[in-house]
Subunit: 225 residues, 2 copies
DNA sequence: GCGGGGTTGGCAGCTTGTTGCCGTTCCCGG
DNA sequence: CCGGGAACGGCAACAAGCTGCCAACCCCGC
């Protein structure tokens, strides 16, 4: 069943594509023609997040034609100034509306409200992508995206909000990832313990984490540590 | 100063090489000719860990010639059965002596006790590798490696030790990375709280982590979550 | 100078996490 | 059956983490 060509056909309206090159081959024309694109990305560098920005430079140039591009990213990305700048660049050069959320994101692309690409588990081998055109599924995913979009925060707004914590984030995250206890870390940074813990709580909020283990996973995932 | 060819010459005996392809190009002959190889790897998939296993298949075939290959890996890798099997394969097919340690590892390769390759920070752009022949530095790094090697545990021994925790590790790690509290997690796994916490403590020991944040970072780093 | 707003840091109460202790249970070997 | 060893799970003591409270301080505008 197509085991050799990186493609698995599951049903008439759900297709599993293995690997990003194959996905690109099959979907490039859809992106080029799309007038409405919605993406939820787990990070800065994934295919979902970045997929061939050149096409979107083209799309941006055609923005007068009514193309709409929306991208949803993890809020934690803005703890890193390089990533923050890159997101702003994507917004400005590509004309994408960008919002961020501390909630965990399932990597998703929705094209013209009628085709959905879901990224599979990243852990095992070449990544699988589900390409779905079944209307009920598309509507369901779109509904979830809209909900997430509505509760997300505009890039510029959130960026301003975390500008200050971003200054201290690397130091705090570094100490946390070394297993340093709060009292020691606070002393090293010349902060009171209460203030250090405030900083940690702010970082955890941005990472959308409810435990320190989860925060560690998230921080590593986003390349912050 | 070679900015265009992926190579930066720092001094007569310390060379910075940018990117793994370039590093391979410059060192392949050294690996082929090496009779003593010592590697400390941060994970399963990094260049340091895996660098062209074909060459070592050759090396294994030539084992009668007196080649010695030692590899040091993070103990946490053995929490994953796929990784555990892969390490055993590398030991058996390549004839490498493999030990594991819970301590944090700096990615290092030592060739014939006279050349050292240190992997640089993985966070920014193409990875830099320092190729060092300066004897004092080589001896220093070698000394550190020997110390780590001595305190490390043989693969088979550690593997047997964690075989049982490995069964439950995925479930525990999954719950931890979702931010689930201990009491809830224990109930979900049908364990008493004290036993769940024993499991968590064992996982943290294998990960060499002293805080849950650090454990989360390590677990993610090793691809366990 | 005064008032308002925001931040800091110590304190305290509470929750969560860490680990020793010990009785209970199970398994295995003699 | 008995004894020994290991694991489980409840309990408790303690440490670490979370967060509200509030006084003190700083900055800014009027």
């Amino acid at each position: 069943m197509g085991a050799g060509d990186g493609l698995t056909q599951v049903s008439g309206s759900i297709t599993i594509v293995r690997g990003e090159e194959e996905l690109y081959r099959r979907t490039a024309h859809l992106f080029a023609a799309a007038t409405d694109l919605a993406c939820a990305a787990a990070g800065l560098a994934s295919w979902v997040a970045d997929h061939r920005s050149e096409e979107f430079a083209d799309a941006a140039a055609a923005r007068r034609g009514g193309k709409r591009i929306r991208k949803l990213y993890p809020a934690g990305l803005l703890l890193d100034s390089v990533a923050a700048r890159e997101l702003a660049r994507r917004r400005d050069e590509i004309g994408a509306e960008i919002r961020v959320t501390p909630d965990e994101i399932n990597e998703t692309i929705i094209i013209d409200r009628r085709l959905v690409i879901l990224a599979g588990d990243r852990r095992s081998g070449p990544r699988g992508y589900s390409v779905i055109t079944r209307p009920e599924v598309v509507q369901g995913v779109l509904s979830l995206f809209e909900t997430a979009w509505r509760s997300a925060t505009d890039l510029a707004v959130y960026n301003a909000r975390v500008a200050e914590i971003r200054q201290i984030a690397p130091a705090v995250l570094d100490l946390l990832s070394q297993g340093v206890k709060d009292e020691t870390a606070a002393r090293r940074l010349g902060l009171g313990l209460r203030t250090y813990r405030r900083r940690v709580a702010e970082l955890m909020a941005a990472l959308g984490a409810e435990s320190r283990f989860q925060a560690g996973v998230r921080a590593r995932e986003l390349g912050l540590v």
